[in-house]
């Protein structure tokens, strides 16, 4: 019996009962499509989280005033003396020979909810006072105009760089460069506009205004403790080393130890890896649920093939009487089962790819090529595996009993 022959017998078996075959194919189709789409959703959401963390600066490390302790924001630990986070601290980190993994440092003083007004339009934003290195550390490129300079910081120049949200809210379509923006009663000259970054979680990264640290301290916040110090590690890989160097330097300056720190260091890349591993679990779970539906589809194949074998017992008897051997019958039914699963697999891949083009639950799915190949191959294997039991049953039928079957 030639392969083409076996194939065409299998095909006619599938086509003999179109509705039943179509429903069985649907089971596999849904399974395969679910595997592809759900893994793509998991993958897409993990990439989205990674991207939004990267927007904050890949190698960024944040030293914050106050400590995270006992799982909460323990900054208000009244019994211990809280040292301020100072510009000297920032200088120490930057200039220390003990911090080879630190590339750049920017002290940050924020004034929240500062009302900025131009030409009668007012918008309340967060005003950040810092050094120019902040733009690089936090991954904020300007799209228009320039940054302020170190000289501006030294002289306390009233220059300001604003984010896209501020531009839209205050200026609309007017070009803000060169205008005077009045923030918290102080007139600033707009020298640059930041490129759009979008949002990270619920935080609008474009809702910012950045000015020289000295200017902000002098005019708005006063010279108290810094809110934080932004540090850039030489690379994402050296972020942990840089974090430890910062601990060593600041513990020395603040006379603190791991248990009594009055500051905390947040490592962006460790947040990234934590969130990625969380997302991996999420993706695996989604994939597992989808795989179960593929398995159920496979059981559907067994079921329908068993029905088909029972229905066609007499036909099997006739075939055996006129000379079909075990292998011929076995391969005919295996081909039938595999055809069902392959058609389901191909259709599932197509549907999966189509559905993955749309956003699902706010996530843009990103197809994992391995999942497409995997889901398809598994569907073929399911046809062979789940078809083998009914096919074996058909092949082992005894011709006289099969012929007697009504």
């Amino acid at each position: 019996m030639m392969i083409g022959e076996t194939f065409s017998h299998g095909l006619s078996g599938v086509l003999a009962n179109k509705l039943r075959s179509a429903l069985t194919v649907l089971g596999i189709l849904i399974g395969v499509a679910a595997v592809i789409v759900l893994i793509a959703v998991g993958n897409g959401s993990s990439q989205a989280v990674a991207a939004s963390i990267q927007k904050l600066g890949t190698n960024a490390i944040l030293v914050q005033h106050g400590s995270f302790r006992f799982g909460g924001f323990g900054g208000g630990n009244a019994s211990s003396v809280q040292r301020d986070l100072t510009i000297d601290d920032a200088q120490a980190i930057l200039s220390s020979t003990n911090a080879p993994d630190v590339q750049a440092v920017a002290p940050v003083k924020q004034d929240q909810g500062v009302s900025c007004t131009w030409n009668g339009n007012s918008y309340s934003t967060n005003l950040t006072g810092t050094w120019p290195s902040y733009f690089q550390i936090s991954n904020y490129p300007v799209s228009q105009g320039t940054y302020f300079t170190n000289a501006d910081v030294v002289s306390g120049a009233r220059s300001i760089v604003i984010g896209q949200t501020v531009v839209t809210q205050v200026y609309g379509t007017h070009n803000p460069i060169g205008t005077t923006l009045n923030c918290g009663g102080t007139p600033f000259q707009v020298v640059g506009v930041l490129g759009a970054k979008g949002s990270s979680g619920f935080t609008d990264l474009d809702d910012v205004a950045i000015a020289p640290l000295t200017t902000v301290q002098h005019n708005l916040t006063g010279y108290g403790s810094l809110g934080s110090i932004a540090v850039e590690a030489t690379s994402a890989d050296s972020a942990t080393a840089a974090q430890n160097e910062i601990y060593t330097i600041l513990d020395g300056r603040h006379a603190t130890s791991a248990a009594s720190r009055d500051y905390s260091v947040i490592n962006q890349s460790s947040i990234l890896s934590t969130s990625q591993s969380t997302n991996q679990v999420f993706t695996v779970l989604l994939g597992a649920v989808a795989a179960i539906s593929l398995l159920v589809g496979g059981i559907g194949i067994t079921n329908i093939m068993l029905v088909s074998v029972t229905e066609r017992t007499r036909e099997i008897g006739i075939r055996k009487a006129i000379g079909a051997n075990r292998r011929t019958i076995l391969s005919q039914f295996l081909v039938e089962a595999t055809l069902l699963s392959v058609v389901g697999g191909v259709a599932g891949v197509v549907i999966g790819l189509l559905v993955s083009r749309f956003q699902i639950a706010g996530v843009q799915p990103v197809i994992l090529p391995v999942s497409v190949a995997g889901a398809f191959l598994v569907s073929v294997a399911i046809g062979l595996f789940f078809g083998s039991y009914p096919a074996n049953r058909a092949a082992s039928l005894r011709p006289i009993e099969a012929l007697r079957h009504e």
């Binding site: 019996m1 008897g317 055996k320 009487a321 006129i322 012929l403």
Partner: protein, 233 residues
Amino acid sequence: MNDSTQRPVFTLSQVTKSYGMGNTTVHALRGVDLTVDHGEYLAIMGASGSGKSTMMNIIGALDVATSGTYELDGIDVGSLNDDALSLVRNRKIGFIFQSFNLIPRTTALANVELPLAYRGVRRKERRQRAEQALAAVGLDDRSSHEPNELSGGQQQRVAVARALVTNPAILLADEPTGNLDTVATNDVLNLLDATHRGGSTIVLITHEDEVAQRASRVIKLRDGQIYSDERNR
């Protein structure tokens, strides 16, 4: 045919067949001896329960005897496994059943081609031989019809064509006219007569005397044994 004309087509010696075990054992055949030569037209008769179906199953290599030997065209069938039995059926036997037993949803031509396909004959040659066989039973104009588009007589003639297409050693017909009206019965029996005249060996199982009269030799079974063996004419 070749040198095999010198020996009988098949020989049953002391064949018994029993089903079940212990007290419920049914002895369907109780020691049957039978030798059939080339070109014989043998009718096997008997009431229901006489063992004629069991005998047809054994002659047709659909089943093996409990004891005794069955030699078909020089092959000891009793010692064969299932796949070898399939091969023997394909090479040596053409079946005609009471209920036609064509494959449903499959054209007459494809039905006739099927035993050749199982034998591994190439498509082109297969088609040619199947068309010839259909023409021989007068159905060359029905080759693309499926069984449910054919009358009972036509279906049985397709079955005859399917049985003959492989040039079997025996044409084994089990009540071939049991489901047919008088006209179709005559058609099929005339076809068998013509086949017999062409030199084929035919074994016909029937309980109708008119049908048995066409045969050259009639054996009658009762309680699993042959009690009469007569040659007509």
